[in-house]
């Protein structure tokens, strides 16, 4: 287990400033003390509440933005973003953006959008070779016949078709790490499986690493069957561990609520709709203290939770940011409703 990670994030903090009232700027503390190692050939899934900082973290991993503080290492070397001299490291890291509309240039055809990065990466390639490569990519992501899509502009594609173009573009450069931000959210389930299978295959055959950002725990379980999952809440990693373990025996109160909220594809299935949460009220990202950020919504909070929370490791090697004082241990399934 003494391998060195492909990518290491060390004490990452991200703070956005927003002009506030009068003299004082408001500090939006979006990521707080993130530590994460990503190994070669690994699939790491990131799940968490909307607005908890997943995309921001993805942008830091791919070097699109620089953290306010903390260090990023790629292959053991400290790097500081795509707009620095480290650009060549970042060619090996590709980002599939959440917003497929904004990610493609609206005045370029799909062909142009796919052609340019391949050409730039290897000037020696002949047009014919690039065309073959593009056709192969289109087949991989299930967009056939390719000609029908290549001459189109982004707005002429459906949402899911656009997401697949992004996937094709990301894999076209044979990167070592792909950060995929909700890559299949607009794709129907059947194709979703094929694309997830494609990602799994690339992962196995080419040892490509993936950071899979998603709100969908069911697909996460499918893609990262043996991988790790990081559960984020308000800019912190609150629980991390093997995906199977985390889903079966979630320990952090937020993870427990999250897993219980997953809908099941069967109208006859009556889950327990009362989530183990005190309120739906979101905590604030401003002026964050030391205590647990989940405290307002946690059913199990106690006085200890107002102090700094140390990370603990459980018997299944799950890393947790919770003092676990009153938190139940049993799996959430027993709390879930039964089929009628």
């Amino acid at each position: 287990m003494d391998r060195s990670p492909l990518m290491r994030l060390e004490n990452i903090n991200m703070v956005f400033k927003k002009p506030g009232s009068l003299l004082k700027d408001r500090n939006i503390h979006v990521l707080k003390d993130i530590n994460l190692d990503i190994y070669e050939g690994e699939i790491v899934a990131i799940v968490g509440e909307s607005g908890c900082g997943k995309t921001t973290l993805g942008k830091i991993i791919t070097g699109l933005i620089r953290p306010t503080s903390g260090n990023v290492y790629f292959n053991g070397n400290k790097v500081s973003g795509v707009f620095s001299k480290d650009i060549s490291s970042y060619n090996q890291v590709q980002f599939i953006q959440q917003d497929s509309y904004a990610a493609l240039n609206p005045v370029r055809t799909i062909y142009q959008s796919l052609y340019a990065p391949i050409k730039t990466s290897n000037r020696k390639l002949k047009t014919k070779e690039i065309d073959d490569k593009i056709n192969e990519l289109m087949a991989l992501v299930g967009l056939l016949p390719a000609e029908q899509y290549l001459s189109k502009y982004p707005h002429q594609l459906s949402g899911g078709q656009r997401q697949r173009i992004l996937m094709a573009r990301a894999i076209s450069l044979n990167p070592r790490l792909i950060v995929a931000d909700e890559p299949v959210s607009m794709i129907d389930v059947s194709l979703r499986l094929s694309l997830l299978n494609l990602m799994k295959e690339l992962n196995k055959k080419l040892n490509m690493s993936f950071v899979y950002i998603s709100h969908d725990l069911s697909t996460t379980r499918y893609i990262a069957r043996n991988g790790r999952v990081c559960v984020m809440y308000l800019g912190e990693i609150v629980e991390m561990g093997n995906i199977g373990d985390v889903i079966e025996t979630p320990r952090h109160p937020y993870t427990r609520a999250l897993i219980q909220a997953v809908p099941v594809p069967d109208p006859e299935y009556h889950g327990n709709d009362d989530l183990p949460l005190k309120s739906m009220q979101l905590g604030t990202l401003e002026d964050r203290g030391d205590g647990c950020s989940f405290i307002e919504r946690c059913l199990y909070s106690c006085d200890k939770c107002k102090q700094k929370i140390e990370h603990v490791t459980t018997d299944t090697a799950q890393v947790l940011c919770c003092n676990l004082e009153n938190v139940p241990k049993q799996s959430v399934y027993s709390l879930k409703g039964k089929k009628k």
Binding site: G51, A102, M186, I187, Y333
Partner: protein, 337 residues
């Protein structure tokens, strides 16, 4: 005009509607001959493969089909609660602008970029209220807008003064959901409204929408790839494939019988949080090429129950007991045959 007794049970109806995109070299038939009721006060879900025409079909109600799309046949009717009947194709552009957002609003699939990048959220909300001659005073408007944002669990103070790029994907989606409620419409079209939301927020938003649906009787047309969401929240379901409506019926029966082979495949391909991950399998084969559709039933190349007759001509929509409708020669018996 007020005559509640004979209010149509449908709030809107597509009648044999066809929509195409004429491009330079060829024309894409994105929607072919679809007849679909939208039941008043209910939640109707549209599911189907990426590219099957869901967005095209639903955006035709408010005349927002993307360029160069046009309706090539059929009609769309709308029955507002004043008891009248509107022929949507006959509205002038000006009438349509009044109709849009006031009677029917839409949360676009592109929610994440549907917001104007150079305006703050506050300015966009106010602009729309202005355009529709809202009688509210400035303070009332502010209060109304804040209320809506808090409804969808956003920090109204921060979000109102933010530009779209300062919000996360899911925050923008929630802003758009709040936006769709701004003029109290009768029908809301939700095109993949929760693709960027975690399950807790999603379940909260859907429960909220369901409450709105129940309390205010607002009708919803929901497009989603999330079969679990359909199972949990929708009343009726339409299954689309290659621009056709393949099956329609109430959610419980459609899921229970899985009568149409395509519906069966779709449900079978849904990963679940419970059960064995190895049991889910994708539907074999490729999505249909709209330029070169197979003869006969367009699902036949991928259908495990395909027989000789399926390749002859396209099957008609047949209705069986319980109001289920399906486009298949063996609708009802396909799986035993």
């Amino acid at each position: 005009m007020e005559n509640k007794n004979i209010l149509n049970e449908n709030i809107a109806e597509f009648k044999q509607i066809s929509i195409e995109y004429p491009l330079k070299k060829y024309t894409i038939k994105a929607v072919t001959n679809i007849t679909l009721p939208i039941k008043r006060g209910k939640i109707t879900a549209l599911v189907g493969e990426s590219g099957s025409g869901k967005t095209t079909l639903s955006s035709s109600i408010i005349r927002c089909i993307s360029e160069p799309g046009r309706i090539s046949g059929g009609d769309i009717y709308f029955y507002p609660k004043d008891g009248t009947e509107l022929h949507l194709k006959d509205l002038s552009d000006k009438q349509m602008r009044k109709f849009r957002w006031a009677k029917v609003s839409m949360v676009f699939q592109a929610a994440q970029s549907a917001l104007n990048p150079v305006l703050t959220v506050r300015d966009q909300f106010f602009e729309t209220l202005q355009e529709h001659d809202s009688p509210l005073s400035k303070e009332e408007k502010e209060k109304h807008v804040r209320g809506l944002l808090e409804y969808v669990k956003l920090d109204a103070e921060r979000v109102l003064s933010s530009y779209p790029h300062e919000l996360s994907g899911g925050m923008k989606q929630r802003v758009m959901i709040a936006f769709s409620l701004i003029l109290d419409p009768e029908l809301i079209i939700l095109d993949e409204p929760t693709t960027a939301l975690d399950v807790i927020t999603q379940s909260y938003i859907f429960n909220l929408l369901k409450d709105i649906n129940r309390d205010l009787g607002i009708t919803m047309l929901l497009m989603t790839h999330d079969i679990s969401v359909v199972a949990k929240f929708a009343d009726y379901i339409g299954v689309m494939y290659g621009g056709r409506l393949m099956e329609y019926g109430d959610v419980k029966s459609v899921f229970k019988w899985r009568n149409h082979p395509y519906t069966e495949g779709l449900i079978g391909a849904t990963p679940s949080i419970i059960g064995d991950v190895d049991l889910v399998k994708p539907i074999e084969g490729n999505p249909p090429d709209l330029m070169n559709l197979p003869s006969g039933c367009i699902f036949s190349p991928r259908c495990p129950y395909c027989k000789d007759i399926c390749k002859t001509a396209e099957p008609d929509m047949v209705e069986i007991d319980g109001g289920l409708k399906g486009k298949c020669y063996f609708y009802k018996e396909a799986k035993n045959g």
